[in-house]
């Protein structure tokens, strides 16, 4: 079962040499358990910043963010890390695999952090499922972009998260590879029933989601309709 998300009047400023710069302002919305939501908007509209806030990677300047009713803006960094380890998976545009670790070890990492004893077995299983059973001992530099993203997807799902965040997951991939990655992402999500929040420019990808949140001029322009 996926997790629910609710934001209340979330704002985010960043300090610049010219003074505080407002990135987000008055953002309020809800995402239901198991829902897939695409955050779309022009470059610089604050999509990635919002994703970082929702995932507890950063704190808002104002407002609150609730995951399953718990206000994560009141948690300290370590508590938010624990929450991420327990319930959250990530897929990034630049894959964010650790270069010194093999594909298998990269997928094992969240399981090891959680303390799972059979991390290797589970990780191997997930790599098989993303079609990389034969590449488990390869390092990221020995894999193509599409393969690296599949490792990242295996890593994201290995810990069976209730909440999955994806930041432009096909941004660095060609159309065909991107398509395969999307299929994989949505397929696994459907299996596990995780809530999905993804940031994208890709219309086709956004169209696969239940709903869109459109960011414009620091604010939520539209909550979109369920697809």
């Amino acid at each position: 079962m996926g997790a629910s998300i609710r934001t209340a009047e979330v704002g985010r400023d960043i300090a610049t040499a010219a003074g505080a710069l407002r990135i987000l302002e008055g953002i309020s919305f809800e995402i239901n358990p198991g829902e897939a939501v695409a955050i779309v908007g022009a470059s610089g509209s604050g999509k990635s910043t919002l994703l970082g806030l929702l995932a507890g990677l950063d704190l808002p300047t104002s407002g609150s963010i609730f995951i399953d009713g718990e206000d994560i803006t009141r948690l300290d960094e370590d508590a938010r890390a624990r929450l991420r380890g327990r319930s959250v998976g990530f897929v990034f545009q630049s894959f964010q695999l650790l270069p010194g670790l093999t594909a298998l070890e990269n997928v094992m990492l969240p399981l090891e952090i959680r303390g799972d004893r059979d991390a290797a077995v589970q990780a191997r299983d997930f790599l098989e499922r993303v079609g990389l059973g034969a590449r488990v001992e390869h390092y990221p530099r020995q894999l193509s972009g599409g393969e690296q993203q599949r490792v990242a997807i295996a890593r994201a799902f290995a810990s069976q998260p209730r909440l999955l965040f994806a930041d432009e997951p096909t941004g660095n991939l060609d159309a065909a590879t991107g398509h395969r990655v999307i299929e994989l992402l949505f397929g696994l999500r459907a299996e596990q029933g995780a809530t999905l929040v993804l940031v994208t420019h890709d219309e086709r990808l956004a169209a696969r989601c239940d709903r869109r949140l459109v960011l414009e001029a620091e604010q939520l322009a539209a909550r979109g309709d369920p697809a």
Partner: protein, 820 residues
């Protein structure tokens, strides 16, 4: 914790820790090598120094000391030996010769060895005790004077003794009773039977002692208050001030070199730590994103650092030990010394250096890194965690502690650190200002030169750091080269080739001219001929002469006063003017004496010569070098002032080795003249300075190697950026030669600039160390102002070419794909 170990192992396997480990091993290795090298060499050289007096401590006296003193020494675990020096006639058939006899007890020499040959000119073999009872060893001169060979016999007093060897060298030749005649060494047990020592005989007893430093100290402290006038305790410092000074200076050099080695090792480690943290900041962000807490991350890295400390220390120890063993093996034949085994101190020093470096230089950035924001996985511009001054402060403090520990001298440690910090700030400021000024847009990729200049400016921050490291390494290298040159020159200056090695004393005025002719007939050149008139300083400006506070000089004995028409060759006038040949009532003082007596030009000085009081006005002050082996005088007068006084003359000259029986002929012709042979002392002093020079060159070589390694490490630190830029340029159509040429040129320009800054820094530092630490004359070194920058440019260009050749050999696509 098991997760921490797993991550450490993966990190290690991925090569992430290699650079840090290498830098740590280098730090530990440099300090261990230098520590072992310096320790072993110092103790060997100290032993060698002690050999100059054939023991650690010598009690010299004209009368036997109470047996209780010796008993006390033995109770404290000291070894002792006795040497008797006296002059007597040696007789062989009809020939007679006044001999300088040295009668030695069984355990003489306690340190060092005697060189004894089987025939004149035959190679000498080392012996660790004197001749057996009933036997004597004599020098070649004695054999010639008596007309006998080894196997023959001589009579000393009423005892006939067999000559069983030719005495070639004695460890304590330089410190023993001055040798007026040819040498004869005999066993102490034979002395009573000769009957030559009677009450009132002129004999010098030298009691030699060796043992633990503390035991020696305790015994010395208890005996010193009981010494009678004329009894003296000597260490190598007192026995051979020249050697002691050389040892001191070499010690200062090695200490400084070691301290600079510590600094270089620290810089290498700090750079490696910086590279490691830069690469790992994203790693930390991902781990946090995946749910690892900051505390767990700190634990992971603590394990990393701990494992690094252990591995780095082991590797450094091993490397350090191997390098110094190899170095000693290389120079063993030239060193000609027994080397003690390395002690534990260098190992502790090495390990301590590793730990302190890790704690002060590597741990702070790593700990700070654990504060990196997980948001970096989305946005790379997010901070890397705490950086900056607090981290550098930690490194600074630990370097300070290391220097203090290494040198055992807080002042020296702080001085070195302060100077380096000052130099670093100046270099950093100059570079930053220069590279940041007139920044031009674009890569300027239309020529190698413009591309290189463009790159210099674009990488201002990286290049400032690189100039800092290059400049620091070059400065330390130049400084050490300068100091080494200054030391070696000074030693060379003290004992240039053809230094007078024979002194003639007690020359009567009527013998002066015949002796001149005797020497001239044999192509020997006297280094001046001086009259010596014994006299005592009584008054200065009407008041009794007094030594100034803090100065040392003995006014209670006769000084040898001299007269001269001209300023002696080695003297220079510091103040005043030299007199005309017919002057009278003037005096010239040596600068040290003038200081000790508080004299200024124009002072009236009264000396007592025999029954006469001679009053003179101080008209000049002379500077001279007491370290050269030439006759010199505290006070010199015009001819007319002292000519009427009874004088004995003195001269010195250089007699090449193997000049035949010149001295015997001279003594036959002028039997009343005394000869002091200095060759043995000179040979020993030359030997020890040669060994010290060799050691210094070796340490210098090791440090230059360490400096080069640090420079390589610093280039490696910026390699990723260059890889990426070169890939982009080549993707855009730049040729391989254009990219490589611009890289080499960029490094050459960096080297030129670093070399210039390093030269200025080294010159200033050398001036300071020469004048304040080593008490040498400061000199300006014109050559380094050319050699430093040009050498820097060539060296850095070569380093750049070597390090960056992969940059242009790797396909651009691979580089771009790997750097994401």
């Amino acid at each position: 914790m098991s997760l921490a170990f797993r991550l450490f192992w993966r990190d290690w396997r991925g090569g992430e820790l290699g650079m840090l480990l290498a830098a740590l091993a280098l730090a530990v290795g440099i300090v261990t090598t230098l520590g072992m090298f310096v320790d072993r060499l110092q103790s060997a050289v100290e032993k060698r120094g002690s050999a100059f007096i054939a023991g650690d401590l010598v009690l010299r006296t004209r009368v036997e000391v109470p047996g209780e003193w010796l008993l006390q020494a033995r109770t404290q675990g000291l070894n002792d030996a006795l040497v008797l020096d006296f002059a007597t006639m040696a007789i062989a058939g009809d020939s007679m010769q006044l001999a300088s006899v040295k009668a030695v007890s069984e355990r003489y020499p306690l340190i060092g060895s005697l060189g004894v040959g089987s025939a004149p000119g035959a190679p000498a073999s080392p012996r660790h005790s004197g001749p057996a009872a009933g036997e004597v060893w004599v020098d070649t001169r004695m054999l010639q004077a008596l007309g006998i060979a080894v196997g023959g016999s001589v009579e000393i007093g009423v005892l006939r003794l067999r000559v069983s060897g030719v005495l070639v060298s004695e460890p304590d030749a330089g410190a023993s009773f001055v040798a007026f005649g040819p040498r004869l060494m005999m066993n102490l047990d034979d002395v009573p039977a000769t009957g030559v020592i009677q009450p009132g005989s002129r004999v010098q007893y030298s009691y030699l002692f060796t043992g633990e430093e503390t035991a020696i100290g305790t015994w010395r402290a208890s005996i010193e208050p009981r010494l009678l006038p004329g009894q003296k305790l000597l260490t190598v410092q007192d026995g051979q001030p020249r050697v002691a000074k050389s040892l001191d200076r070499a010690g200062s050099f090695l200490l400084l070199a070691g301290s600079l080695g510590v600094v270089m090792a620290g810089v290498a480690l700090a750079m490696a730590a910086r590279r490691y943290t830069r690469r790992h900041t994203d790693y930390v962000a991902i781990l946090k994103t995946l749910g690892l807490s900051a505390a767990s991350i700190r634990r992971v890295y603590a394990v990393n650092l701990l494992a690094l400390a252990v591995a780095g220390t082991m590797l450094g120890w091993l490397g350090g030990w191997l390098v110094q063993e190899g170095a000693f093996a290389l120079i063993a034949s030239m060193l000609d010394m027994d080397l003690p085994a390395p002690g534990l101190r260098p190992l502790l020093l090495g390990a301590g250096t590793g730990l302190l470096c890790l704690a002060g230089l590597a741990a702070p950035p790593v700990v700070a890194m654990s504060a990196a924001s997980p948001l970096r996985v989305l946005r790379e511009d997010v901070s890397e965690g705490a950086t900056g001054r607090s981290i550098y402060a930690g490194g600074f403090v630990s370097l300070g502690l290391l220097l203090w520990w290494y040198s055992g001298d807080a002042r020296l440690g702080m001085l070195v650190l302060g100077c380096l910090l000052g130099a670093a700030l100046i270099v950093w400021g100059c570079t930053h200002a220069l590279l940041r000024r007139a920044r031009v847009p674009g890569a300027r990729a239309n020529s190698t030169l413009r591309l290189a200049f463009g790159a210099l400016q674009r990488h201002a921050a990286l290049n400032s750091l690189q100039v800092l490291v290059f400049g620091l390494c070059l400065m330390l290298a130049l400084l050490l080269v300068l100091l080494r040159t200054a030391l070696l020159d000074d030693w060379q200056r003290q004992l240039p080739p053809r230094t007078p090695n024979h002194f003639l004393l007690n020359i009567a005025p009527y013998q002066v001219e015949p002796i001149r002719q005797f020497l001239a007939a044999r192509d020997l050149e006297p280094a001046g001929m001086f009259p010596m008139v014994p006299g005592r300083v009584l008054e200065v400006n009407g008041a009794p002469a007094r030594i100034q506070p803090g100065q040392e000089l003995n006014l209670d004995r006769d000084w040898n006063l001299a007269w001269s028409d001209t300023l002696p060759a080695d003297n220079t006038l510091a103040e005043g003017r030299w007199w005309s040949p017919d002057a009278e009532g003037e005096v010239s003082a040596e600068a040290g004496v003038a200081r000790a007596l508080g004299l200024v030009l124009g002072d009236r000085i009264v000396v007592q010569v025999g029954a006469d009081r001679i009053e003179s006005r101080l008209t000049s002050i002379r500077e001279l070098d007491w370290d050269t082996m030439r006759p010199n005088f505290f006070l010199i007068f015009p001819r007319k002032s002292l000519e009427a006084q009874a004088a004995m003359w003195l001269t010195s000259f250089y007699l090449p080795a193997g000049s035949g029986p010149v001295i015997n002929e001279l003594l036959r012709e002028f039997p009343t003249v005394s000869v002091i042979e200095m060759e043995a002392i000179l040979a020993q002093v030359r030997g020890i300075t040669r060994q010290l020079s060799l050691a210094i060159e070796l340490v210098l070589g090791l440090l230059l190697l360490a400096g080069a390694l640090v420079m390589v490490a610093s280039v490696q630190a910026g390699l990723e950026l260059r890889f990426r830029e070169s890939a982009i340029l080549r993707t855009l159509g730049a040729g391989r030669m254009l990219v490589l040429g611009s890289l080499v040129l960029e490094f050459a320009l960096l080297g030129l600039f670093s070399g210039l800054l390093a030269t200025a820094g080294a010159e200033a530092a050398a001036w300071f160390v020469q004048t304040r630490v080593m008490e040498l004359e400061p000199t300006l070194h014109v050559w380094i102002w050319f050699g430093g920058p040009i050498g820097g440019a060539i060296g850095c260009a070569a380093l750049g070419l070597w390090s960056c050749r992969r940059v242009v050999d790797t396909p651009p696509a691979e580089v771009l794909r790997q750097s994401g």
